[in-house]
Amino acid sequence: MSAVMVFTAYVDGAEMGQRVRARLLELSADCDVQAEVRIVDVTAEPSAAEAGNVVGIPTVVREQPRPRRRVIGALDDSRRVAQALGLDEVDRDAAENAGVADERA
């Protein structure tokens, strides 16, 4: 059973938005996470950048599950991104809670 995570990605322009979305979805899939990605283009929605206290672009915030996690920069290094966003943590927690080795399809 895959975990669901919700992300907001703050980007600068449609092209970066597409790239970041694609990358996030890819990284999530690798960790068996179902990702919902909301793209915020700071040049089009500066008030959203203000609300999110965003300085660096791109910034990706994991909104759910809590606690929030935040990374900044191009999502090049898969391992680091997965770790920083906690893409693998939910699986581990779920397995522990279940108390039983969970067979994943």
Binding site: D12, V54, I57, P58, I72, L75
Partner: protein, 524 residues
Amino acid sequence: MSEPESNTSRARGADAAALLGSHVVGVVDVPGVPKLATGIPGFDHVTMGGLPRGRTTLVIGPAGSAKTVFAAQFLAEGIHRGQAGVFVTFEEPAADLRANLATLGWDIAGWEESDVWRFIDASPVPGTEQVEVGDYNFAGLVARIGHAVDQTAAERVVIDSVGAVFGQFADATVVRSQLHRLAAELRRMGLTVIITAESAAPSSGALSRHGIEEFVADNVVILRNSLEDEKRRRTIEVLKLRGAMHRKGEYPFTVLPGQGVVVIPLSGMALDQGSSDTRITSGNATLDEMTSGGFFRDSIVLASGATGTGKTLMVTEFMAAGCELDERCLFFAFEESRDQIFRNARGWGRDFEDYERNGRLRLVATYPEVASLEDHLVEIKNEIDEFRPQRIAIDSLSALERIGTVKGFREFIIGLTSFVKAQQVAALFTATTGALLGGVSITEGHISTLTDAIVLLRYVEMYGEVRRGLTVLKMRGSNHDRDIREFRVDGAGMHIGEPFRTVAGILSGQVFNVADPDPLFPGL
């Protein structure tokens, strides 16, 4: 005996409420990058008009140098001039800034409500962490600033501080290049910007800790807060303004509650004050005779002598005479309390209480140690601006000598006399000589060339008695008595009598008797 110079009165265009140093020497219209008057008192004098408009200025200083106050004041003064501002804070949260800056008298919350002040709060939120996983730019920051500027039509922006930005982002190379881009973007938007930065350690050879001046600095201002002789001295220096002229060197400044930074410009004063022919009474009829009619309406007089020689009495008579003529008289006392001064005055037949009650006399008695020299200077200026006296007295300048460095005191005297001169009031300052018999005071050394008249008061040891003498040493623009005259003091004040004829060496303190007194001058 020299002939009196003729004094011509010239029209003065300057506003009597002008700030210290508002007379500019030389060129009025300085070619180069147009400047935006900041409104920070004294600073626009140093920059000769303000900061380069539409450009970024780096303000560098150590911790505690008032960088943030200075930057916030740049915005506050802008708002007073109808220019909205945006304050980008990387260091302190907006809530803290609002509260701290309120003590300087700025209603920032009110301005935010009127949307003429916006905070962009990029300060670190405790407990949240951001991990850098790759390359990034500051487009988020640029978008937020641009948005705030659009909505408020802001013309002034502050970024506080560079060090805090480096503190939040691990990749220093990225930060430097992005700040460089940010400055370019702000310039494209036509904004006049101040960015604050920390000073580098003196040994490093760089100006700012992160070397930011190499990337962002067409214009650099340095704030210093140095310890000299156990005293703090705050100074501001405009190091460079690209494409524009400015005054060089350090200028002292102070930070006053309710006002903020006040820069004290000195000696950039033009000597263009008109001078008056009108005479006023010194408060003593004989002294008036000795000076051929009294002091000039706009002169600065120095009375110098050892403790107890009658300086305070001279000041008392000077003030009382003004009050009797319905003039406003402002008395700054740094050595005695109000009660002591009033009691002394009563003992000499002057009712200071009455003068104070009917608003003629204002006495400001302050212990010198309560503030720095710069603070005292600004307070004196404020009192003068508010009370608008015709006569001013300070008893004594020497009491202020001990709270500053030698350099600081000299600058204080220059600033004080420049300001007083611009007011065209009659001023009497006292100075205390260290030696009891003769000698010269340090204050005298600084001030004697700046005053129009000097009266010396001396003890004279004669025939086993200590008597007192007074002489008018100099009086610009007038004949004056050359004699050293003896004076007595009683319940009616000072009585100046005959010249000393049988002794010499009074001024040096080495008094000796001369042979037979000249029969033409019976004296004594």
